[in-house]
Amino acid sequence: MAVAIVILLIALGSIAFHFWSPWWWTPIASNWQGMDDTILLTFWITGFVFVAICAFVAYCVWKYRYQKNRIAEYKPEDKKLETRLILITTLGVIALLAPGLLVWNNYISVPDNAYKVEVVAYQWGWKFRLPGKDGVLGKTDIKLINDENPFGLNLEDSYGKDDLLVDEGELHLLLDRPVKFELRAIDVLHNFYVPQFRGKMDMVPGMITYYWITPTRIGEFEILCAEYCGTGHYAMRGLVIVDKEKEYNKWEAKQITFDKMFAKNKNNKNLQLAKNTK
């Protein structure tokens, strides 16, 4: 009896917890409401299954508790019932999968009007690069990274000269404009994750990965690295600030182009000292 009650309490308690606990997802700030909706649908279906089966178990444990003169049913099989259960389960699975795959299709199809922002991850911080006036990001190579050229831009690529380099781990984004994040890592795996944006993707050295979002809310959001990258993994934080166009342009104007930064580094006395080229 106690067992049945506890099982029932667990099921009902879980429901209660779900609705009344203060812990729920962070308010969404991007266009990926579809992910949230799919999660809600999954909650309804799995929640129903969980309560139904727990209730059934509780009922059986109570109703069919051991009695000396009770004889259990002897029924090795019930083809009809089993077939029906398989069918219902398959339908349930399809109901979950179909919307999920639709949203995934959107996630991997970047809209044509998305502007590009490169995110560079390193142990343990974030750097960013914007395409600048020519709208194209210059080519990079990890082999080219050195003190003067911390982003590893290819000096022969003219598109790279006007790229804006953001070194302080704070990225600004335009409100209501789709943006494609081109993700790079220079040492180990990282993952560019902002919980309010819902999207994430690993960053693999030697590859350029991507995902896209449309920010839908003004605000300051924290970047959390979401792929274990060594002892500083938890401390690898940054900031994303979603701005209206005016504020964004102000911020963009303050950023340094690659040309200027490279020239400055070349003349940097400290660097020259460190590299013995003074």
Partner: protein, 610 residues
């Protein structure tokens, strides 16, 4: 020719003088009986070869179990330290590097050295020969060597605590490049020792797996068809096949990473700038490692889950005095889950940066595999329906399994659906999911199984009061630990974080949740000490068990002596006349009919035609 030779040796193991069977494939009966020993049993002559270097699968099983559980206790202690750090960061208990080392060792120990070793090496060795009706495993010497290789693997793993740099802190998934670059603890010796330990483990388990496969396929007793095997054997058998096919992937990945670390090859290492300097690697692919690792890693979770499924089916059936519902479907489901498990691995890599089109494929296969798993759940609860349920400890733990596995399996549906995995991957939702479905549910089965088979192994019963306390704290406590944790994942709290500290959007109440979870974890941990005490003290002081105390049908309870002696069956091998689920057969005198009871002894029982 060699087959004939084989038959000569095994002639004694077939029931020779049965009057009814003079037909069919009985050429064996016509061969003269071989001299002792049949089935090439090794008879030990010294204390060392009986209790230490034993070739008897029952002893080897106990050795595996003790080593696995001992290592598991270490893993448990590590988890306490980790949880204390998370909940009370102000205490400054651990450095980040130590924290990550504990995270890694905890994970690897629990998955591989506890669960896999316990289910396959522990339960497999003890139960397979007995349930199949054979005297021992097919290759007892190799079986013995497999245990010692396992022990050496454990020792090598533990030795990594004592080398400069300490054990690896790369996470149990050991992803390159970070596993062997300087930002990760233990990137020098620690990771190498871990990989060496894994290679030894795989070698040992291939030897063991060889035994389980050959014994189940070829060494069953007369009358024991595959479909008359208890589901416990089916679970362990298919899990072993998975292990033999999946561990090579881990071996390959491990070997290549060892070379990357030791010799500077670039199997997995691309061009890297680490801590300001260009490393000498180039051209390797970190994603290749992930493919190899998860090709092993996903079947691995089924290697843990399938034996649990099989065992719990038997526990429920025996303690509800009712045949398992849908035996054929259960077998099909085990085989189906096993086969499908090789096609879902990249659902661990949805956000790893692989070709996004793979997401469609793997999400589909992953949700397909939910169907046979769901069928098993239905069949377990349909076994309870119209049963005669004894709330013994094995049954209590089985019920606990159903609830927790259901929960964990359902949250898997969230993660398997690729688009839902995007916000939830690498958060505490994943941690909660896999603990619930791998850590709690199968471990509840382990407990239930130990309470169930303890009398067979030791001849005594475990203390029931201690057991009940152990059950309630463990079941309710574990659920309290992991259910709320899912919601941390919804908030977006990432996993493998040493500290959350001042984050503008994570409410302070999450820290409160952390404290709650840690306290619950410590309480549940303490309850396990009760269990260990029960295990040890009952071996001497426990109530003496009567023969076949649970009135079960399967062969392991039908040996002439309990605990079974060397050779299991005495002079005559058993003969099987029925499947193991003849419980509450209409018309029968008792509510159980053991497998080796001849039809002539139960003529009043009327078996229903399906």
């Amino acid at each position: 020719m060699s087959d004939e030779y084989e038959h000569k040796l095994e002639a004694k193991s077939d029931y020779v003088s049965d009057a009814s069977s003079g037909t069919s494939a009985s050429d064996i009966d016509k061969l003269p009986p071989a001299e002792l020993p049949d089935q090439e049993l090794y008879h030990s002559h010294s204390w060392w070869t009986t209790y230490v270097f034993s070739q008897d699968a029952k002893y080897i099983g106990v050795q595996y179990a003790c080593t696995a559980i001992g290592t598991g206790i270490l893993g448990l202690v590590l988890s306490w330290l980790m949880r204390l750090q998370i909940a009370f960061p102000g205490l400054g208990l651990l450095e980040p590097s130590a924290y990550y080392q504990f995270v890694t060792m905890h994970g690897m120990i629990m998955v591989i050295y506890l669960l896999t070793a316990l289910f396959l090496g522990g339960f497999g060795n003890f139960l397979i020969p007995l349930m199949c009706g054979s005297r021992d495993m097919a290759f007892p010497y190799v079986n013995m060597v497999s245990y010692w290789m396992f022990l050496v693997a454990v020792l090598v793993l533990l030795s990594s605590f004592f080398v400069p740099g300490g054990p690896t802190g790369a996470g149990w998934t050991l992803y390159p490049p970070q596993a062997i670059t300087s930002g990760t603890p233990g990137h020098n010796m620690g990771i190498i020792l871990m990989l060496v330990s894994l290679v030894l483990f795989v070698a040992g388990f291939t030897m063991g797996g060889l035994n389980y496969i050959v014994t189940v396929l070829q060494l069953r007793t007369r009358g024991m068809t595959l479909m008359r095997l208890p589901l416990t054997v089916w679970g362990i058998f298919v899990a072993t096949i998975l292990a033999l096919l999946a561990f090579p992937a881990l071996l390959v990945g491990g070997l290549m990473m060892t070379l990357d670390g030791l010799l500077g090859t670039s199997f997995f290492m691309p061009v890297i700038v680490s801590m300001g300097e260009q490393l000498k690697y180039e051209g390797g692919s970190p994603i290749l490692f992930q493919h190899l690792f998860w090709f092993f890693g996903h079947p691995e979770v089924y290697i843990v889950a399938l034996p649990a499924f099989g065992i719990v089916s038997d526990l429920i059936s025996i303690h509800a005095r009712k045949n398992i519902f849908g035996y054929r479907m259960m077998v099909w489901a085990i085989v189906g889950i096993g086969a499908l498990s090789f096609f879902v691995w990249a659902h661990h890599m949805y956000v790893a940066g692989m070709n996004p089109w793979f997401g469609f494929f793997f999400a589909t296969t992953t949700l397909i595999i939910a169907v046979p798993t769901a069928i098993k759940v239905y069949n377990w609860i349909l076994t309870l329906w119209r049963g005669n349920i004894q709330l013994s400890l094995p049954m209590l733990f089985s019920l606990g399994f159903i609830v927790t596995f259901l929960n964990g399996g359902l949250t898997g549906l969230f993660l398997g659906n690729v688009t839902v995995d995007v916000p939830l991957s690498d958060t505490y939702f994943v941690v909660a999911h896999f603990h619930m479905v791998m850590g709690i549910a199968p471990v509840l089965v382990v407990f239930g199984a130990i309470y169930h088979w303890y009398p067979l192994i030791t001849g005594r019963m475990l203390n029931e009061t201690l057991g009940k306390i152990h059950f309630w704290i463990t079941f309710v406590g574990s659920y309290a630990i992991y259910f709320p944790m899912h919601y941390q994942g919804f908030i977006g709290v990432p996993r493998r974080y040493f500290e959350i500290y001042d984050s503008p959007y994570i409410e302070t109440s999450t820290m409160g949740l952390n404290v709650f979870i840690t306290v619950a974890a410590l309480i549940v941990g303490a309850a396990q000490l009760l269990f260990i005490y029960n295990l040890i003290s009952s071996a001497r002081l426990g109530k003496k068990a009567e023969r076949n105390p649970w009135k079960a049908n399967s062969l392991e309870w039908q040996t002439p002596e309990m605990p079974p002696a060397h050779g299991n069956w005495g002079k005559e091998m058993p003969k099987v006349y029925r499947w193991p689920y003849d419980y509450s057969v209409p018309g029968a005198k008792e509510d159980y009919i053991p497998q080796n009871v001849a039809p002539s002894a139960v003529t009043e029982a009327k078996v229903e035609k399906s």
